[in-house]
């Protein structure tokens, strides 16, 4: 066979192999002309003891984000497409009365547009912070539902996604704020107890020598308490006196507008307590 032909075939085979090798990369596309029925939406709403409510959102095209984030297509809102967070009523249904000087302040307290990027420090979040996401903040207003509205340039808002946050709660003071990681059990209590929420707990321990570690627990129902047995906090990398923070997050799933291809909206109430650990 002609040597030149063989070389060409071989070179082509190598190029094709190289093109198909390696990881696929995430990419972002503009939302222009992308129908809502092709959008997968993840909306997360967090409240904490600061009496602020934080909103995060991320949109992907055509499907849910993959576990390893391969081949995901993230959506960038452009050309009049906007995300709005609201208290009590979707912004698409909200109105100001004729008393503008008195009613507009209430309106502005209840609605905010999400901006690109922003905070990225939430526990148990499904947001993939390496790609396009959106965030905003409002003051905590009360126990009415919070809405996430996607306003489209075509004038048809996707406005039926909402969730009622878990109620504010208080963690009881620990009977002993100095816990032995190897010999002491740890019981954390809180009030009030609430139905239809799940509980995620994360305990972060950080030592002066720079070593740190954490444990997590999940409870499917809220019984107002979590117990860690003696030794559950033990890690052989942690020595001496180490500070610890227990984060308790109550989570309730809400109702996502059915016009999306899929996704979820979740409300979270976060509290924390600080204590000390020793060997």
């Amino acid at each position: 066979m002609n040597t030149r032909v063989i070389s060409t075939v071989f070179a082509t085979a190598v190029l094709v192999s190289l093109a198909s090798c390696g990881e696929s990369e995430d990419r972002s596309i503009n939302s222009t002309n992308l129908p809502s029925t092709k959008l997968y939406a993840v909306y997360e709403i967090y409240a904490d003891a600061s009496e602020q409510v934080f909103f995060q959102a991320q949109l992907t095209a055509d499907k849910a984000p993959s576990d390893n984030r391969d081949d995901d297509t993230f959506v960038r809102l452009v050309d009049g497409d906007e995300l709005w967070a609201s208290y009590s009523t979707s912004i698409s249904n909200a109105s100001v009365g004729e008393d503008l000087f008195t009613d507009t302040e209430v309106f502005a307290d209840n609605h905010v547009q999400l901006a690109s990027g922003g905070f990225n420090f939430f526990f148990f979040s499904d947001i993939y912070y390496a790609e396009n996401w959106y965030s905003a903040q409002l003051e905590y207003m009360g126990d009415q539902p919070y809405y996430m509205t996607m306003e489209r340039a075509n004038g048809n808002p996707i406005d039926k996604s909402f969730v009622t946050l878990p109620a504010p709660f208080t963690i009881a003071a620990l009977t002993d704020t100095n816990i032995s990681r190897s010999t002491d059990a740890l019981i954390i209590d809180w009030q009030p107890v609430e139905n239809d929420v799940e509980i995620n707990i994360e305990i972060l321990m950080s030592c002066p020598d720079g070593f740190s570690d954490h444990i997590t627990r999940k409870l499917d129902t809220d019984e107002g308490s979590v117990t860690l047995n003696a030794g559950d906090l033990y890690f052989d990398t942690l020595t001496g006196s180490c500070s610890a923070t227990a984060n308790i997050i109550k989570t309730r799933l809400g109702t996502l507008d059915s016009r999306y291809i899929g996704g979820n909206i979740s409300g979270h109430q976060h509290r924390s307590i600080v204590f000390n650990t020793s060997d």
Binding site: S95, V96, G97, D99, L100, F107, V112
Partner: protein, 178 residues
């Protein structure tokens, strides 16, 4: 609102017609500061222009006021309310040398629009409301004749309940008498 403006300008045109200019027509312009009584809004500047007909110790006035936006900048997402209005007034002139004191009452027709900044990171605005109002107005002014046809003036104006807030104004300006 367009019809109101057309009426105003038509009236001004009639008043400025050569026949009536031979009578007691007063052209007035002023600037001032307006402060809303309700809400977290800062005071704003105003410009006012009017035409009046003078007869037997009275002024019969039609005018227009434009306000700079009332702003609440202390918020993370500021709100602005833009207001303008036309008014009709009857004003009693009392002469207390060397000044004239003018006390007036009438009706103000205002149009207001409210805009909200979308977020702390997006300065573009969203219109969130509008309103038309017709409300009573009272004025007190001090006028000093400087020349045969020219006077300086200063005064206070109060408009009741403009889109949820009373407006208090102080103003100063000049007047041409024909």
């Amino acid at each position: 609102m367009k019809n109101v403006f057309c009426s105003v300008f038509a009236t001004i045109g009639v008043l400025l017609s050569p026949g009536l200019l031979a009578q007691n027509v007063v052209l007035e312009g002023s600037v001032g500061i307006a402060e809303p009584q309700s809400g977290p809004y800062e005071s704003s500047l105003l410009m006012d222009g009017s035409v009046s007909y003078s007869s037997s110790g009275w002024l019969y006035r039609i005018g227009f006021t434009a306000f700079d936006a009332f702003k609440s900048d202390s918020r993370s997402n500021p709100i602005e309310i833009e207001t303008s209005g036309v008014y009709l007034q009857a004003i009693k002139v009392v002469t207390l040398e060397p000044f004239d004191i003018e006390i007036g009452a009438g009706l103000y027709r205002t149009h207001s629009e409210a805009f909200m900044e979308k977020s702390p990171y997006n300065a573009s605005q969203r219109k969130i409301g509008s309103a038309y109002d017709t409300n009573p107005v009272v004025t007190v002014a001090l006028v000093k004749n400087m020349a045969k046809s020219f006077s300086l003036l200063g005064g206070f104006k109060y408009i009741n309940d403009v889109s949820g807030s009373d407006l208090h104004m102080i103003y100063a300006g000049g007047r041409f008498n024909f």
